[in-house]
Amino acid sequence: MKFAFFQGCNIPVRIEQYADSTEAVLRIFDIELVKIPEFNCCGYPVRNVDEKAYILPSIRNMAIAEKAGLDILVICNCCFASLQKAKNVLEKDSALKDEFNTLLAKEGLTYHGATRIRHYLTVLHEDVGIEAIRNKLVNTCKGLKLSVIHGCHILRPREITQFDDSFVPRITEDLVGVTGATSIDWRGSLECCGAALAGLNDELSRRLLQEKITGAREAGADYVTPICSYCHLQFDTTQVNIAAQAGPETDLLSVLLYPQLLGLCLGINEQRLGIARNRTIGVGDIDHIKSLLAPPVEEKKKKVRQQAA
């Protein structure tokens, strides 16, 4: 399988480890990610200012992928939602489609709507499948408690994103479950990290973030696993910024990305997964996670029995 890899603006310059670990994990399942330098911003940043200016960039990106004959694979929630939204808007508005196509024609591009927008978790869950993942596991990570924060724009509005049940999401539950780790039940899992208010109202933004950090801790989480790149930056950068102002003693809630966890269980080297590049993770954390890694016991027994039979 081959996808056009849409990284957005944040990941290549601020969260390279998210792209690297996703790529490394998907390669194990023979999924190739093609980097396309012509891709531009998804449009999300301008949504507060002008809806039309928000739609156009995603349309160009999809037209580029369409020309290359590829579906798009996305990591970032906001990019994902922007692409899905743009697709949805043009399905209903042919006048706007014509207007944008006239503009795109200048650079030899046309948007038909043929490209599908896929989130990497959906690809892992649907296209690869839990059993296929289980068969490739070298380790499981029993006893690790993760607080997954989905990020809003992947779940809602459900008619647009079409990712999972927006009230009781199963995909992350299954995907964390297969690694042996526990996705804990906590109240922030479906809520907002505050990123959309950063730079506009930092105080409120940080209040929302702090509520999630406290919530995850109280629920007994070892690590937070943000799905969205904006959530990641809130937990992995803003949290550090807040701590720096609060004093050197502040305890941080460490970030562990899902493909980093899955990568470890698939036997991928931690350097390649860029775990140490998460700013909130310390050497102790990495040792802790590694100490929990153990070969998947039951599976081996089954295999032995099958061989004996």
Partner: protein, 574 residues
């Protein structure tokens, strides 16, 4: 006019220009204000940095930079082979011609004892180098024309640079071609160097040079028998070949001579040679004089910028060097447009029709800001918007072939402009997110947000300030009609994470989510637009997802934000 005089004038202008540009490096800057460190302080800081780099382990880095960045042009090579080829052809061809041909009496003669400009390999190489430059210029022109739809902007100065470089080479080749075909040049050379006895031998030599070396004799008929040509070849071998290789070695000029020869002969060949000589010299000397005042100054500035970037990366050094590095960066821009071609904000440029959204256009204009020139309010506003509509993806900085730290330039300029107090509505976009993350100039950012808040207060009346009772008008003025299905259950407000963040949300937010929907219901869009709630919305979509009647609250809030900004921008224009 005398050549030495012209040369002296051109060299003087060039030197004065270079000194002026150097002065600008150390006297101007964007932010912090140039007054923060004096000229001597900046010179001293630059000296310290240079000393530290030259006498230390960084010397290896510098040498690496000279080979990889300056000579090999690695940054361009990694991005675009065609552009690398164009630059490489022009750069190599032009430099070799400059040192080996223009400065032949100073360099080539000293290096190669038997140097005569009409001998091979010199005759051949001059043409080869010239052809390289012309090929490079052709690719560059092709690139500028074909990439126009990809938002590559071309100014008169860009064309001028290509015309100058191409003109120098073409006029040189035409001059050589004219000399090849010129009978008077031939005669002068025979008189000076030839060993020809009598008219018959002269005729034989002429026949041979007409036949095989491109000479054109138009004023009389030349007898061209095989025997005469053979005799001419023999005489040529005896008296010319020692110092003059066959003209066919100058393969381009020779070809040109075949075309231009008859025309030059008809117009007067001595005059043609003379005219083309002046043309060639004028092209060369005016290019030299123009160089420091144009983008061609990158010949000096780009290597400096690349070495600094190789050593420092995106980090800033000593504060006194920050401004100097900004200025070196600005002067190193070649307006190649590589940054704009890959700018992640390129589609915002299409939507907002503001040239300053493209990084290449910003850099070009920032020189005016650095020089402290008075800018009219419209331009200032456009520049400010262009600086703000940026995803902070840093692609431009990574791509720039001149190694300009564009990211730092843009951040500094952004806050330098915001300090003027012109409200910037783009601050309310998520372009502010990476700025908040990086915590650039937090106080300046807050101050600029305050200005915006005041503008909102001025433009919209809020519920708390109203004394008159609200009047009902007909609803239906708002683009998203889903608000009409609201049946006032207030589920939206009850689930909102922002509302629950405040002890007194009504006061803090102006209107609560359900009240915004009510405002639309009574036809008062302005009241909704002016509420602080829409700007405090975390866009989590919980309200919309939980609404039992499918009111698209979050989408409505986006619509209100767009409308509020449009209204403010409109008010600002009128």
């Amino acid at each position: 006019m005398n050549f030495t005089l012209l040369l002296t004038v051109a060299v003087s202008i060039c030197l004065i220009g270079i000194v002026l540009r150097f002065y600008v490096w150390f006297s101007q800057g964007i932010h912090p204000p140039a007054t923060s460190s004096s000229l001597p302080q900046r010179l001293a800081a630059a000296g310290r940095a240079m000393g530290g780099a030259l006498f230390g382990p960084r010397l290896v880095t510098i040498l690496k930079s000279i080979f990889l960045d300056l000579l090999f042009q690695q940054r361009v090579f990694n991005k675009n082979t065609l552009r690398w080829l164009a630059h490489g052809l022009i750069f190599t061809g032009f430099l070799l011609l400059f040192f080996l041909h223009a400065l032949d009496s100073l360099i080539t003669e000293k290096l190669f004892s038997g140097y005569v400009s009409t001998l091979n390999p010199y005759l051949f190489l001059r043409n080869l180098f010239g052809l390289m430059v012309l090929a490079g210029v052709t690719i560059a022109v092709y690139r500028r024309i074909t990439l126009r739809p990809q938002r590559l902007k071309t100014y008169a100065g860009d064309w001028a640079a290509l015309i100058f470089v191409g003109g120098i080479i073409l006029s040189g080749m035409l001059l050589e071609g004219a000399k090849i075909s010129s009978y008077s040049t031939f005669q002068r050379m025979v008189e000076d160097y030839g060993d020809v006895a009598g008219d018959q031998e002269q005729q034989a030599l002429e026949a041979f040079w007409v036949k095989e070396n491109g000479l054109v004799i138009a004023h009389r008929k030349v007898e061209m028998t095989t025997a005469l040509v053979d005799q001419g070849r023999e005489i040529s071998g005896r008296s010319c070949i020692e110092c003059h290789a066959p003209n066919t070695s100058a393969f381009v000029s020779y070809g040109l001579a075949r075309i231009t020869g008859p025309i030059a002969a008809a117009a007067g060949d001595a005059g043609a040679v003379n005219f083309l000589w002046y043309l060639h010299i004028l092209f060369c000397l005016s290019f030299l004089a123009w160089l420091p005042f144009s983008k061609m100054f990158h010949i000096i500035a780009a290597p400096v910028s690349l070495i600094i970037t190789r050593i420092m990366g995106k980090e800033n050094g000593e504060p006194a060097n920050v401004l100097t590095r900004q200025m070196i960066g600005l002067s190193a821009c070649t307006h190649c447009g590589a940054c704009s071609l890959e700018c992640s904000s390129n589609m915002f440029f299409e939507s907002f029709q503001n040239d300053f959204i493209l990084p290449s256009e910003k850099v070009q204009f920032l020189k005016n800001l650095a020089a402290g020139r008075e800018l009219d309010p419209d331009t200032l506003k456009k520049l400010q918007q262009g600086l703000y509509i940026c995803t902070s993806c840093d692609r431009c900085t990574d791509i720039c072939p001149s190694g300009i730290n564009l990211k730092e330039l843009f951040v500094s300029s952004r806050y330098a402009l915001l300090a003027h107090g012109i409200p910037e509505t783009s601050m309310l976009s998520h372009f502010s997110f990476p700025l908040a993350l990086a915590q650039y100039r937090v106080d300046d950012h807050l101050k600029a947000l305050k200005i915006l808040e005041q503008l909102f207060k001025k433009s919209f009346r809020v519920l708390a300030d109203m004394v008159q009772p609200l009047t009902l008008t007909r609803p239906g003025k708002f683009s998203n009609p889903s608000y009409r299905s609201c049946y006032s259950c207030q589920r939206c407000t009850n689930i909102c994470p922002v509302v629950r963040s405040f002890d007194n949300p009504g006061e803090a937010l102006g209107l609560l989510p359900h009240q915004i929907i009510y405002s639309l219901g009574i036809g008062n869009v302005d009241l909704a637009m002016g509420s602080k709630m829409i700007w405090s919305c975390s866009t989590c979509y919980l309200c919309q997802e939980h609404c039992p009647n499918q009111v698209e609250l979050c989408d409505i809030f986006y619509g209100l934000k767009n409308a509020a900004i449009a209204k403010i921008e409109e008010g600002d224009r009128s």
